[in-house]
């Protein structure tokens, strides 16, 4: 399925509605991506003002989710779409939920950044958080690109990438435990770091979900809770 396949209806209005809906989802993705990169920047540079700004801006994401959800309901009610169109709308309804949750996690990270900014900073200024954050924001970016281009290959790559994020999270957690055992006074700070890492890891999961919806949308195949990879389609 190509992007142009979406615009192949007898009703011009319906084409435009579907196209607008898709554009809205992608612009929501843009807002969420900005929120995430700002939240990561806030934690890495110890900028409490930026962190609070991210936390306060989450309402923008929520507003977009409500607007898109309403538009989806309207299209379902008035157009009774079928096949590919129905899959597109269903995938969008699920995608925006995940995007909104990513927004929530970014809000949480922003808030943690403002708290961490007031505490001691380690000498590496949270390099491991920055690495995990960059990794996750690349995943989100690729997920949204796959959504825009309806690219199953890219989407599959992102789904597989999630495992590496999980490993990285595991590592940070282990490191944090070591810090806490070495110096119990740092527990309060390191707990916040763990929470931030946890939020980042969750964002990776949400990005993976979005890619699974992309695969569902294009191929009509539900790949949730299955193992993707070389043995992707054993029956073929």
């Amino acid at each position: 399925m190509q992007a142009s396949d979406l615009t192949d209806h007898i009703s011009r209005r319906f084409n435009k509605d579907l196209e607008d809906l898709r554009n809205m989802v992608l612009s929501m993705g843009g807002v969420v991506e900005t929120q995430l990169s700002r939240a990561i920047a806030a934690i890495v540079s110890g900028d409490s003002e930026l962190g609070l700004k991210v936390a306060n801006d989450d309402y923008k994401v929520n507003k977009l989710e409500v607007a898109i959800d309403e538009e989806c309901n309207r299209l379902l009610a008035t157009r009774s779409p079928a096949a590919g169109d129905l899959r597109l709308i269903v995938a969008i309804i699920k995608t925006i939920t995940d995007l909104e949750r990513i927004g929530d996690e970014a809000e949480k990270i922003g808030f943690l950044a403002s708290k961490l900014a007031a505490m001691d900073r380690p000498s590496d200024s949270y390099r491991e958080l920055k690495n995990l954050g960059t990794h996750v924001s690349h995943m989100l970016r690729d997920a949204m690109n796959a959504f825009a281009r309806l690219d199953v290959a890219d989407a599959t790559d992102v789904v597989l990438e999630d495992e590496r994020v999980d490993d990285e999270y595991e590592l940070i957690q282990r490191q944090c435990i070591t810090f806490m055992m070495e110096d119990p006074r740092s527990i309060k700070r390191v707990m916040n770091v763990t929470w931030a890492a946890r939020s980042l890891e969750r964002i990776g999961d949400h990005a993976k979900n979005i890619c699974e919806y992309v695969i569902y949308m294009v191929e009509g195949k539900d790949v949730r809770h299955t193992v993707l990879g070389d043995d992707e389609t054993p029956e073929d």
Binding site: A3, S4, R22, N23, L26, S27, G29, G30, V31, E33, T34, S37, T134, R141, M144, N145, A148, R149, D151
Partner: protein, 440 residues
């Protein structure tokens, strides 16, 4: 008439005449003409079919030699075809050259149609923004470069500003985006990698901020001791003069440092928020009370023609007014006058400070807002100016979408006017107006 056509007509007429002649011999001339015409028709149809077959099989051997009408048709047909093919080749060559030159451009260029959909993009755009020339054709550009700022710029229809967005392919990279409309609803999106210059600008900002910050603490110590010394009764009389001088200079330095810090704060912060409603008229009156000293300075008049409130930061607007008014007062003799005006109309509002002071030469006007710029190098330092006031004014205006206009004539005085767009204004509700009319 070409040769072939004449020959064809003569042949046709001869054939018909021959048919008529033979028919006349047999006493049926009409039948003879009809038979001749049928022969001619049969001959032409055969050639027509052969020609159509030849255009399909590209085997024109039959038509290549000879000088009949069909050979004539074929030669002009093949000439047209060859010319079209030559043009096609030339245009393809030209297009390839253009593509090559756009690909050689260091800046990314993306051609957009009226719906902001990608028509074409060059190689740099591919590298800078991660666009895929084939796959992304027909895709809206802000579906791939999903920065809210770019979406806003594309929606703005005027495309007046260039914006910086984080690079989608390079970590910590920045792209400068500019939209140039052309032709019938086409747009060119120009992308430029500004990572380096953004980094340099940030380094410069950080340097000024850090240096000012570091200078502050030693200065505090110095002024502290100088103040103690100045108050010391036991100090020898000869020292009084140098100590006072040092005190004055230390205070000046303090002011420079705090203004530099203010400036770097203004530079690094985003646009001023629009939630606060600033009562500009009230601030002008307050500036008159604070800076006008009857007898010492020129009298200050305040003219408030508008009840409009400015949406922005009150503390910044206050600092803007203080800077402009203190400049005016400093450069106006006691017998002159300073007028502060606030007025608004449908297009926006303006705040102006007019004085009857010495004025500024036209050649200096463009450089007025530069840091530490002085019109008169020798004199200005004595009257307590630091040289950062107008730079601060410019930055505050920039954060409020405003614009500074300076009119001045040597010996007659100057007018500094700050223009604000209508989008930055808010009309107060009647209730608040009534509340403010009460005598303070």
């Amino acid at each position: 008439m070409p040769d072939a056509s004449r020959k064809f007509l003569v042949g046709l007429v001869c054939l018909l005449a021959a048919g008529a002649g033979i028919g006349w011999l047999y006493d049926a001339p009409a039948t003879g003409v009809l038979a001749a015409a049928l022969i001619a028709l049969f001959w032409q149809v055969r050639h027509l079919l052969a020609f159509v077959r030849a255009t399909r099989t590209r085997d024109f051997e039959v038509f290549r030699v000879g000088d009949g009408i069909w050979q004539q048709i074929f030669s002009s047909f093949s000439y047209q075809q060859a010319r079209a093919a030559r043009y096609k080749r030339q245009y393809r060559q030209l297009l390839r050259e253009i593509r090559k030159s756009t690909d050689a451009m260091p800046d990314g260029a993306v051609i957009l149609d009226e719906n902001h959909e990608i028509v074409m993009c060059n190689r740099a755009a591919k590298a800078l923004a991660g666009l895929k020339p084939k796959k992304d054709r027909g895709q809206r550009v802000d579906n791939i470069l999903r920065d809210p700022k770019l979406t806003k710029l594309l929606k703005s229809e005027t495309y007046a500003r260039a914006i910086e967005i984080p690079s989608p392919v390079r970590d910590d990279g920045w792209l400068n985006c500019r939209v140039v409309p052309y032709g019938a609803d086409q747009k060119l999106l120009v992308l430029r990698d500004v990572t380096e210059s953004m980094r340099l600008a940030r380094m410069r900002r950080d340097f000024v901020a850090n240096a000012s910050h570091e200078l502050r603490s030693p200065l505090t110590v110095v002024t502290g001791y100088l103040d103690t010394l100045a108050d010391d009764e036991a100090m020898p009389r000869d020292w009084a003069m140098p100590v006072t001088q040092m005190q004055i200079q230390a205070r000046r330095m303090n002011r420079i440092v705090s203004e530099l810090l203010e400036l770097s704060r203004l530079e690094s912060a985003g646009p001023a928020d629009v939630e606060e409603r600033v009562d500009v008229g009230g601030l002008l009156s307050a500036a008159r009370r604070a800076l006008g000293m009857p007898g010492d300075t020129a009298p200050i008049d305040v003219v408030v023609d508008s009840a409009a409130r400015l949406r922005g930061s009150a503390s910044e607007i206050e600092s803007l007014i203080t800077n402009l008014v203190s400049n005016a007062v400093r450069h106006t003799p006691v017998d002159g006058s300073v007028t502060l005006t606030w007025r608004s109309d449908a297009d926006g509002a303006e705040l102006s400070v007019t004085d009857t002071g010495e004025g500024i030469d036209a050649e200096h006007l463009p450089r007025l807002t530069e840091r530490f710029f002085r019109v008169d190098r020798g004199r200005a330092r004595e009257d307590g100016g630091v040289g950062l006031g107008l730079a601060i004014v410019k930055h505050i205006l920039g954060r409020h979408d405003g614009r500074l206009e300076v009119r001045s004539e040597r010996g007659k005085g100057s007018t500094f006017t700050c223009h604000f767009p209508a989008s930055r204004l808010a009309m107060p509700s009647p209730a608040t107006l009534r509340g403010e009319r009460r005598p303070a």
